[in-house]
């Protein structure tokens, strides 16, 4: 995003709409900190800039990646498109009753970096990916973050991406249930070294009558607890994937 300083009247209506606090009023003009800006476009959509000073400039690689991750109304380019082509992650558990992406004995690992409210440099995602590689995790196919990995053995991102900043991005992978403890230990180890936060989610097929979680004993052993709320696929898809 840019603000044309010639025509900005300094009304300040865009300042509070910024998702990452990158717009500030200075000497009666609004200015954007381009380093902090994640190109989410919220300011442009919500403000209704009275003079048109607020504008989306043309973005080129690698900066364009900021927009694909951060602006939920902006599609990824065709060559990097996955599922619907929008957003930061896959359908994870949402359609698992049809797709069978996560099967019994497997656990989905969903690391949403930059959430809530901190934003993140992609170098943090690289550190998480490398921890998951060490855990022997299988990176999710059709995930935008996986598409940006240059070397799957090393877990490194494509050149120049580490310094790009996004509102959030989701590193998605799956591990066997028996590798969950090791995976979580490695993530716990890397967490304090990041300069951001992440929301940690685990996806599991439910067992028995649908109300028993197979990951519970592992979490209990590690002294970890789940939050009281969760997201659940209710098994209404037909034909139902029983795997």
């Amino acid at each position: 995003m840019i603000i044309d300083q010639e025509i900005c009247t300094g009304c300040g209506q865009c300042v509070f709409t910024c998702t990452v606090d990158a717009i500030r009023l200075k000497e009666d003009k609004a200015g954007i900190d381009r380093e902090a800006c994640v190109e989410c476009g919220n300011c442009l959509r919500v403000t209704g800039c009275p003079t048109g000073a607020l504008q989306q400039d043309e973005l080129v690689w690698p900066r364009a990646v900021r927009k694909y991750f951060s602006d939920n109304q902006c599609k990824w380019p065709v060559e990097m498109r996955y599922t619907l082509g929008y957003g930061r992650g896959t359908e994870e558990c949402k359609t698992n009753d049809r797709t069978g992406k996560f099967r019994r004995g497997e656990v989905g690992v969903m690391v949403e970096l930059g959430r809530p409210n901190t934003g993140t440099y992609l170098r943090n995602a690289e550190m998480i990916i490398q921890a998951l590689v060490r855990a022997g995790a299988e990176m999710a196919e059709n995930s935008p973050m996986t598409a940006l990995i240059a070397d799957r053995q090393k877990g490194t991102l494509k050149e120049g991406l580490g310094a790009e900043r996004v509102l959030s991005c989701i590193v998605e992978a799956k591990v066997k249930l028996e590798a969950l403890e090791k995976t979580l230990s490695l993530l716990k180890e890397v967490a304090p070294r990041l300069d951001t936060v992440f929301s940690m989610g685990l996806v599991t097929r439910m067992e028995g009558d649908g109300f028993r979680s197979p990951i519970e004993p592992v979490l209990k052993k590690m002294g970890l607890a789940v939050r009281p709320n969760a997201k659940m696929n209710l098994g209404l898809g037909r034909p139902l994937c029983e795997a």
Binding site: Q73, L84, E91, C93, P116, V203, V226, M232
Partner: protein, 222 residues
């Protein structure tokens, strides 16, 4: 990702926040034109069931949401494979909707977010068997960067993090100065979250509490 497993609030507050959405499966519900058209028709019918029960919000990404003042009919005019998202503020309503979904047996994937035990209870009552669950292990990493708990109670209600702590502070101040009601502030904030997942009644509750807590330097307020 809807981020709906990570909505931040106390268990008591979460009793007023149930997210329900329908998501067709790519490669399954769109294998040919006939299946695709049937899927879109069923999506619309399921959305109509939710709408009938008076949700706090219902919408589709890119098409708008009722909480920001868009017309439901217009939002659903051209349903796409994005499905739809909705929020209801009580368990009974969530149960009634899911009961009708089960009876309808449309065959599309349905996802609900909220208090795990309450959702399990609904499932047992209605006769549903949870297939796959995304559990939240909370926030990890540099937590000193986080805004206050009050801020998080609102910012995590948007699936794409489009509502910032600065926006909340702006509206809290506007409420305190009597320039806007909490309800209008909630509606305006919903404009940043175009998916239909933003819970305006919960937002209004938190805004009211925040405005009462932090009086502006010059006094006044509602």
């Amino acid at each position: 990702m809807s981020h709906s497993a990570h909505r931040f609030a106390t268990p008591e507050e979460l009793k007023r926040d149930y997210v329900i959405f329908v998501r067709p499966a790519h490669g399954f519900d769109d294998v040919d034109e006939k299946t695709k058209q049937e899927t879109l028709k069923k999506t619309r019918e399921l959305a109509d069931i939710v709408h009938k029960h008076g949700p706090a919000n219902i919408g589709r990404s890119g098409a708008g949401s009722t909480a920001q003042g868009d017309d439901y009919g217009k939002i659903m005019e051209r349903v796409t494979f994005n499905g739809f998202m909705s929020v209801v503020t009580d368990k009974q309503k969530a149960a009634a909707i899911l009961k009708e979904f089960k009876e309808k047996d449309a065959g599309l994937s349905v996802v609900a977010s909220g208090l795990t035990e309450e959702l399990f209870d609904i499932c047992r009552t209605v006769g549903l068997k949870p297939h796959t669950v995304l559990f939240s292990l909370g926030i990890w990493g540099k937590k000193e960067l986080l805004p206050s708990d009050d801020h998080l109670k609102i910012t995590t209600l948007c699936g794409h993090s489009m509502i910032s702590p600065a926006m909340i502070d702006h509206y809290v101040e506007e409420i305190q100065k009597g320039r806007v009601t909490p309800e209008e502030a909630g509606r305006r904030m919903a404009c940043s979250c175009p998916c239909g997942i933003f819970n305006v009644p919960r937002t209004v509750e938190v805004l009211r509490q925040m405005a009462a807590k932090q009086k502006p330097a010059g006094g006044g307020g509602k």
